[in-house]
């Protein structure tokens, strides 16, 4: 055999081996693949990395507990840098691997907007726990988007409820001023519609203050706040923008007690560098806060980290963003479990079957407690028409060293949210010529 023939033979053998390793048949039986779109470098890495660590740790924990009815989870990570183009590239690269992606979680509203167009064609659910398009709660129109457990409209609604309670009722909001300091991106703009709606209802004023990416230059923004003296500042930031806002508030003397961040502006990386300067700063807790004592965290430590398989640093386990990633992974695992209930226990499920699973998540308190989430979150019940499944939130406050819950539970007001969701999603359906699914369609 000459050299050329040998090279051809080797190439053929390599291609054959590679095909054998990557064909769906080799994995489909007992493995379930999830792409992990993460950002561990760049401007948003301090917030992206703990989320990704919690997300991956939960999948490791699930495998350590024996998988989902014996089906092991496999995943591959791709660095998006929080950039929409790189996120789409990651999605395209990973969507067909290992028998096809079961679901994808982009951790970016910008990437979510882009994938919303692609998901129906690829039949891959896009899970956006606590972010994404608020109107995608309507599963009749957004058949493949799952803003599980919280949308920005719901979050903003809870914040308005909270300040109304502090003032002594919604009627007391009349004449008040709320400044929204927001990341000038699709993410930061999401709460505007809800705040304007609530402002119309209760007679308060909303001052909009956009901050350009990455958010390190805010002096002019806070000078405007100093001039207009709003009663409250809502912060819709991400990454370094959050700590910069709190530092500028300190530098201009704005009371941190009157600042309320969204749940992406209320984690340890946002305040630990500011220390005492952030004392009194409040943020929404998307149900959970920092949960170092939760049973699921003890399980992660004993079944994953104690075996040297932890994804990130041990001291991060149980922190706010770590918990967010962990819960995001738990919700997708429960989607797989629900889908297996219909399509066969212990079997690999497709993206389409996963959608059914995500539309039929039914986690009552007993089920959550059994998974180790007692005290961490409240029941989640999704349906074909409601892709959010739960609208609970509370407020937590930084005491200079740690986050402490400072309010009781609130629930997004469906009387305000539902009409907005229906109106915006109908408009989207009209624009994209989507025929909304009917309850009959949902049974299929």
């Amino acid at each position: 055999m000459n050299l050329r023939k040998l090279a051809v033979a080797a190439s053929v053998a390599a291609i054959g081996l590679s095909a054998a390793l990557t064909t769906p048949a080799a994995f489909a039986a007992e493995e379930q693949f999830f792409p992990v779109l993460a950002y561990r470098t760049g401007a948003y890495a301090p917030n992206g990395a703990p989320w990704a660590n919690g997300f991956v740790d939960y999948m490791k924990l699930t495998n350590a507990r024996g998988g989902v009815n014996g089906v092991k989870l496999i995943w591959e990570e791709c660095e998006t840098g929080y950039a929409t183009d790189r996120g789409v590239e990651c999605y395209e690269r990973l969507k067909g691997k290992h028998g096809g992606a079961t679901a994808v979680q982009p951790l970016s509203t910008g990437i979510t907007f882009a994938l919303t167009e692609k998901a129906p064609g690829d039949k891959i659910p896009v899970i956006t726990a606590g972010y994404g398009r608020s109107e995608s709660q309507n599963g009749a129109v957004f058949g493949w988007n799952f803003p599980l457990v919280g949308t920005y409209w719901m979050g903003a609604d809870v914040l308005v409820q909270h300040i109304a309670k502090k003032e002594g009722g919604f009627d007391k909001l009349k004449g008040k001023k709320v400044a929204l300091v927001y990341h000038d991106s699709p993410y930061g703009k999401e709460p505007i519609a809800l705040l304007q709606e609530r402002a119309k209802m209760h007679g308060f004023e909303v001052q909009l203050l956009p901050v350009a990416h990455p958010g390190v230059e805010q002096k002019a923004t806070w000078l405007q706040i100093r001039q207009s003296k709003p009663d409250y500042v809502f912060l819709w930031g991400w990454g370094v923008m959050n700590s910069t806002s709190i530092k500028e508030a300190q530098a201009t003397g704005y009371p941190r007690e009157k600042m309320y961040g969204v749940w992406w502006s209320g984690a340890e990386p946002d305040v630990k560098d500011v220390g005492d300067g952030a004392k009194g700063y409040n943020a929404l807790a998307m149900q959970h806060g920092a949960e170092p004592n939760a049973k699921v965290i003890k399980d992660v430590l004993s079944l994953v980290h104690a075996k040297g398989q932890g994804t990130g640093p041990k001291e991060e386990v149980g922190q706010v963003l770590y918990m967010r990633g962990l819960i995001s992974a738990m919700l997708q695992v429960e989607g797989v479990r629900a889908a297996q209930g219909r399509y066969g226990k212990g079997k690999h499920i497709t993206g389409e079957q996963m959608r059914w699973g995500l539309e039929n998540i039914s986690l009552d308190q007993k089920a959550l407690d059994a998974l180790g989430f007692a005290g961490v979150m409240r029941p989640v019940q999704t349906s074909c028409l409601d892709h959010m499944g739960s609208a609970w939130a509370r407020i937590h406050t930084w005491d200079g060293k740690k986050w402490n819950f400072s309010s009781d539970w609130y629930q997004g007001d469906e009387k305000v949210l539902r009409p907005m969701v229906m109106l915006a999603s109908s408009k989207y359906a009209e624009e994209k010529k989507i025929k909304p699914r009917t309850p009959e369609d949902c049974k299929k």
């Binding site: 561990r40 470098t41 760049g42 401007a43 890495a45 301090p46 990395a49 000038d184 909009l208 203050l209 956009p210 901050v211 350009a212 990455p214 958010g215 390190v216 230059e217 002096k219 002019a220 923004t221 000078l223 405007q224 100093r226 001039q227 990454g239 370094v240 700590s243 910069t244 530092k247 300190q250 530098a251 201009t252 003397g253 990386p269 630990k272 560098d273 220390g275 300067g277």
Partner: protein, 309 residues
């Protein structure tokens, strides 16, 4: 009136901080004719080094003295930046002597990406604290002249003062020392400078070392304000309009340019921003710089280049 003065002062102090980064660009361009796109990455690298060593040293030595920890971290960071300078000259610039300016620019772009990536790999990609005792609380001044007084950010004030000191020191270095004059000779003409015995490789190492020190000071000040994290590398983008406006070859130009840009962007954001939806200060700074270029293409203090044909 008091609010306008606050905005003006805030802009001036921000401008001084931009000048500090712009100085790094000017220094290297002045001495080597290279537009160093890696200046922002050097600021990030230096800030990460300072933040991490000031955190690690007390753990390694078991001590609890913040001043000593900062002093040692500063000394180590100086060595780190000198090493970076030496490596840049040895591995990149030495091989590009007398190459086109665009080639050198692309090389510095490569250095920027390399430093961004390696910095985060070695030191981590979290937000790290630099605590050099900068005051954080604001102070009210002129309360008997203006109703409610004028709010001054003490941290910005101290930072602007340190920047001013550095500028004075660098101006003296360039104008009054033999090394400074050699740096300017190299900038004018590499070959002519070599022909009269100025060692090009040593001069380049020196200028990158000086730019490294400037980056370290900028990194400490910006890092103390914002935390040492990746976004510091984007601070260089804030300094670009400053060098466009001030001229690439002028130290005073970097200062005046910084002040004009600082004031211009703050006043535009505060007074024009609300009319157009806000968020205009970044592009407004570039627009301001470009408007100046219409009248003075070489920048405010840049040298007018006249080539014989």
């Amino acid at each position: 009136m008091s609010f306008f003065l606050e905005t003006l002062l805030g802009g001036l102090m921000s401008g001084m901080l931009y000048s500090l980064v712009a100085l790094g660009f000017v220094l290297i361009y002045k001495a080597s004719g290279v537009f160093n796109f890696a200046q922002g990455a050097m600021v990030l690298f230096a800030a990460l080094s300072m933040a991490r060593f000031s955190e690690w040293i007390p753990q390694w030595l078991g001590m609890d003295n913040l001043f000593m920890a900062n002093l040692l971290a500063f000394a180590i960071s100086v060595v780190v930046m000198f090493t970076v300078a030496w490596l840049v000259e040895r591995l990149v610039l030495r091989h590009l002597v007398n190459q086109e300016g665009a080639t050198l620019l692309m090389a510095t772009l490569g250095i920027a990406y390399f430093l961004d990536g390696v910095g985060q790999t070695i030191f981590g990609s979290d937000i790290y604290k630099i605590d050099v005792g900068m005051p954080k609380e604001p102070v009210m001044m002129l309360e008997n002249i203006f109703e409610g007084g004028i709010l001054i950010n003490k941290e910005d004030f101290v930072a602007a003062f340190i920047s001013a000191l550095l500028v004075v020191a660098l101006s003296i270095f360039f104008q009054k020392t033999a090394t400074g004059r050699a740096l300017r000779a190299v900038a004018d003409d590499h070959q002519a400078a070599q022909s009269i015995g100025i060692p090009l490789d040593r001069i380049w190492v020196i200028v990158w070392c000086v730019a490294g020190i400037t980056a370290l000071v900028a990194g400490i000040i910006w890092g103390s304000k914002l935390g040492a994290q990746f976004s510091l590398s984007t601070v260089a983008l804030r300094a670009l309009p400053v060098v466009i406006l001030g001229g690439l070859t002028s130290v005073p130009g970097a200062i005046i340019g910084g002040l004009i840009i600082g004031v211009g962007e703050k006043i535009s954001e505060v007074y024009l921003g609300p009319m157009v939806g806000g968020g205009i200060e970044i592009w407004f700074a570039y627009m301001l710089a470009l408007m100046f270029l219409l009248f003075r293409p070489q920048g405010l203090f840049g040298e007018k280049i006249i080539d014989r044909v």
